[in-house]
């Protein structure tokens, strides 16, 4: 299968830097909300098959608690913030004070889901505003929505546009971890999936042509 997107090392570095700045900003927000130190790992730009993308989060059937935000403007695409249901439950208990809350016990209270969506709103907002500042592009997030379900079912939502031009997923993956060494460790993934035509726009904003 021909790879529609062969990125140069310089373009890969640019995308990584977007992940770095975006997720760094979001990590700061998360750290303020949780009142504890949140670290991030070096972002990775992945150009992989759809199946391989699902494997990054433990395979297509793995259950995750995700927040999905679409972004629009000069550049558009999808963004996911993903935690395990257990980790998300911990966060929601902290935010709402509802000690009973657990993503393994549906139906979920509206308050809990709102809290989680609001968290996604804040994190996506910080990520995208950093992206916007860095690229000088106008990018706005849409209303976040939450789904606790299988990896395959969730991530394909962000692949619909991309899949019309390629059989590869291109995304920036950044992992956030918290520093407290207790049994409530949080390890969240940020996935940024720009639409195919937005890569060109992003590279142009740096004066780099897509096809060097």
């Amino acid at each position: 299968m021909k790879d529609t997107f062969s990125l140069s090392p310089f373009q890969l570095d640019l995308l990584k830097e977007i992940g770095n700045i975006g997720a760094g900003n979001a990590a700061t927000s998360l750290s303020k909300i949780l009142n504890r130190t949140v670290n991030m790992k070096v972002p990775e730009v992945k150009v992989v098959s759809f199946d391989e993308m699902m494997d990054v989060l433990g395979g297509p059937e793995q259950e995750i608690a995700s927040i999905f935000v679409r972004f629009e403007g000069n550049a558009s695409g999808s963004m996911f913030f993903v935690l395990t249901p257990d980790e998300a439950s911990v966060l929601i208990r902290k935010m709402t004070g509802n000690e009973q809350f657990n993503f393994h016990n549906p139906p979920y209270s509206n308050l809990a889901i709102s809290a989680y969506e609001e968290l996604g709103n804040i994190l996506a907002g910080s990520y995208l505003s950093a992206l916007s500042d860095f690229t000088n592009l106008n990018v706005q997030p849409t209303v976040p929505s939450c789904s606790v379900d299988m990896v395959g079912a969730i991530l394909t939502v962000g692949l619909i546009e991309l899949s019309q031009v390629t059989d590869h997923a291109i995304f920036i993956d950044t992992i956030l971890t918290d520093e407290d060494h207790n049994d409530e460790e949080i390890k969240g993934h940020f996935f940024l999936l720009p639409h195919p035509e937005s890569f060109e726009v992003i590279f142009k904003s740096f004066g780099v042509s897509h096809h060097e």
Binding site: M1, K2, T4, S49, F50, D51, M54, G59, P60, E61, E63, F68, R70, P106, T142, V143, S145, C146, S147, V148, D149, M150, V151, G152, A153, I154, T156, V157, L159, I160, E161, S163, Q164, V165, T166, D167
Partner: protein, 167 residues
Amino acid sequence: MSETFEIVKVGIADLGIVQAPNRIRTSGLGSCVGVVIFNVHLKIAALAHIMLPDSTTFRGEGLNKAKYANTAIEEMMTLLQSHGVRRYSPLKAKIAGGAQMFQMTSGTKESMRIGPRNVAAVKQELLKYNIPIVSADVGGASGRTVEFNPETSMLSVRTVNHGTKEI
């Protein structure tokens, strides 16, 4: 019951074929549709994990036929025939998937309704080949993992919150 069988795994935008006693499976269907076309007597079945309704939207190079409803069904027929299913032997279909994973409150884009569009396209395509859909579990807001057993012609559908059912 110590009968050994293998499970053929079908990825996203992929298709495969299986004969009893083996089974065939695809995981994490969201807006995608899992289509099984099978022959009861030959105990043979093809399964596709379809992502998009129509290949005419494809703008890249190297079309993956398993990805689209209109090309995947045709490809499944070719595959079944190359495995000894004769042109007019009776075939049946079961389908699952086509969910809408995120309930968007505003600015619902066309791509967000891809699930129902996939289901409609698959139905239309099966109709072209006169293949009846004997059971279906489509729509809703849940991801599904499906496994087909050609021995019994049963399709097991697993969701995160509603357990497993056989259709």
